[in-house]
């Protein structure tokens, strides 16, 4: 290919150009796409967070930090920030713990391992709206399976309206997210566990370490990079996840399940206060940026580790 191009003298300049910049050319489609669907909206949102901007009015007035001051003083938004923190760290914590246990289980030798590995992945492959519908029916206050089981086993006397009490609504939603997220951690950590060299484990065994000791002193340090990267990634995803709340509770009751992204969404599309909504989105983005930076650092460091191995 290269030779045919060079043999044609007239295209020599173009060839040199292509040789030099061709590698960037391959990147161009992806770059244009990402700039278009991520870069442009993000920049635009950040820009308009300093404006009083209602899409139905023609004028946009610059108001400086007024939007930020207003949302940070708004008790509903403060509640949303607390909700987001509980939601994000609560969900990810349980997913990491159960995902790690799951990965260790799936790494054992047993019959039908391949099939069972596949089956445990199913919640992860479930679209969030479908997951929401399934669990809404199970957790239904009147006809739900969970209340029925709890009543039959005598744990409760009266059915609990899981999604319409301020105390149980957020935990019930977290249950759905944990259900969906455990397989993600299980699979990622399983992949990491499979990378642990067998001779290392054998050496530890010969040195007289028990399984518990081997796990925490040999295996765990080796899977820590993967654990950290997946955790940070999942934190960012969970924090910006609002599909469940939108389908199941719409943020209620009494803002008990309103996280920052949904709050921004309502401000934009119910109150049409786009400037304020974009300020909310920017606050969320800045908070998450911390995690993204940690992620990128870890990612790069792990890349270096891989090269050494």
């Amino acid at each position: 290919m290269k030779e045919t191009l060079q043999s044609r003298g007239s295209t020599a300049v173009r060839t040199r150009f292509f040789k030099r910049y061709g590698k960037y050319l391959y990147l161009l489609p992806a770059a244009v796409w990402i700039v278009g669907v991520v870069g442009y909206p993000v920049t635009r949102a950040f820009f308009f967070s300093f404006f009083d901007y209602n899409p139905l009015r023609a004028d946009r007035t610059f108001v400086g930090l007024e939007n930020y001051v207003r949302i940070l003083q708004d008790p509903v938004f403060q509640k949303a920030m607390i909700n987001s923190a509980i939601w994000t760290f609560g969900c990810v914590f349980f997913q990491v713990v159960f995902g790690l246990i799951g990965a260790v289980l799936l790494n054992q030798r047993f019959r039908g391992r391949g099939g069972i590995r596949g089956l445990t992945l199913i919640p992860w492959a479930t679209p969030s709206v479908l997951a929401a519908m399934m669990w809404m029916w199970i957790l239904d206050g009147n006809y739900g399976l969970l209340n029925d089981v709890l009543k039959r086993t005598g744990i409760i006397e009266l059915p609990i309206p899981w999604f319409s009490q301020t105390t149980t609504a957020l935990p019930a939603l977290m249950l759905i997210d944990v259900w969906q997220g455990i397989p993600f951690f299980a699979v990622m950590l399983l992949a990491a566990l499979q990378q642990v060299p067998g001779d290392l484990l054998e050496a530890a065994k010969l040195d007289g370490a028990g399984p518990w000791k081997i796990f925490w002193s040999v295996v765990f340090p080796l899977i820590t990079p993967t654990l950290l990267i997946t955790t940070v990634l999942r934190i960012v995803w969970t924090a910006s996840y609002m599909d469940l709340m939108m389908v199941v509770t719409q943020g209620g009751p009494a803002y008990a399940t309103l996280p920052i992204p949904l709050s921004a969404y309502y401000t934009a599309y119910s109150e049409l206060a786009f400037g304020e909504a974009m300020a909310k989105a920017t606050v969320q983005a800045l908070l998450l940026l911390l995690f993204v930076l940690v992620y990128l650092r870890l990612f790069r460091r792990r890349g270096a580790v891989d090269d050494v191995q």
Binding site: P29, I34, V42, M134, I138, D148, A281, V292, F299
Partner: protein
């Protein structure tokens, strides 16, 4: 104490945990399937019945007969298929060049590419949707 007489506690524990996990992971699907095979009135009987008293495919018939379900499925296929093809077309050249060539700013480019992973479709959608409407992207429908 021969090995075949010893109770294999670790095996029992392993299978118990796996069973609990599978029940939790698949329970909602099983319940959804059972619910879909119940008669409509039976859904709201108290106390809850676990197995349908009368197994029926009425719900599936209603789905195919009274809703545009086949069209929804076609929409899903179109969305999923075109997303996959577009992603591959964009990602393969980028992947090739990033793995084969060395150039300045590669860590930054990689970081930026990965960072776009942090943006969820729902959040970029709310930023894009007005522009999409303005440029006519949102009027696409598959009514045929």
């Amino acid at each position: 104490m021969t090995s075949n007489k010893r109770i294999p506690w670790s095996r029992i524990a392993l299978w118990t945990l796996l069973a609990v996990w599978l029940a939790f992971a698949l329970g909602p699907y099983v319940w959804m399937l059972l619910t879909s095979l119940k008669d409509r009135a039976e859904l709201f009987t108290m106390p809850v019945r676990y197995l349908p008293q009368k197994w029926t495919l009425e719900s599936y018939k209603a789905l195919l007969g009274q809703t545009d379900f086949l069209r929804f499925m076609r929409n899903s296929l179109v969305v999923a298929g075109s997303t996959m093809i577009t992603t591959l077309l964009l990602a393969i050249p980028a992947g090739v060049t990033l793995s084969r060539h060395e150039y300045r700013g590669k860590p930054v480019i990689l970081s930026l590419l990965i960072s776009s992973h942090f943006s969820r479709p729902s959040s970029s959608c709310s930023g894009c949707i007005r522009s999409c409407g303005k440029w006519g992207f949102c009027k696409i429908s598959w009514d045929s």
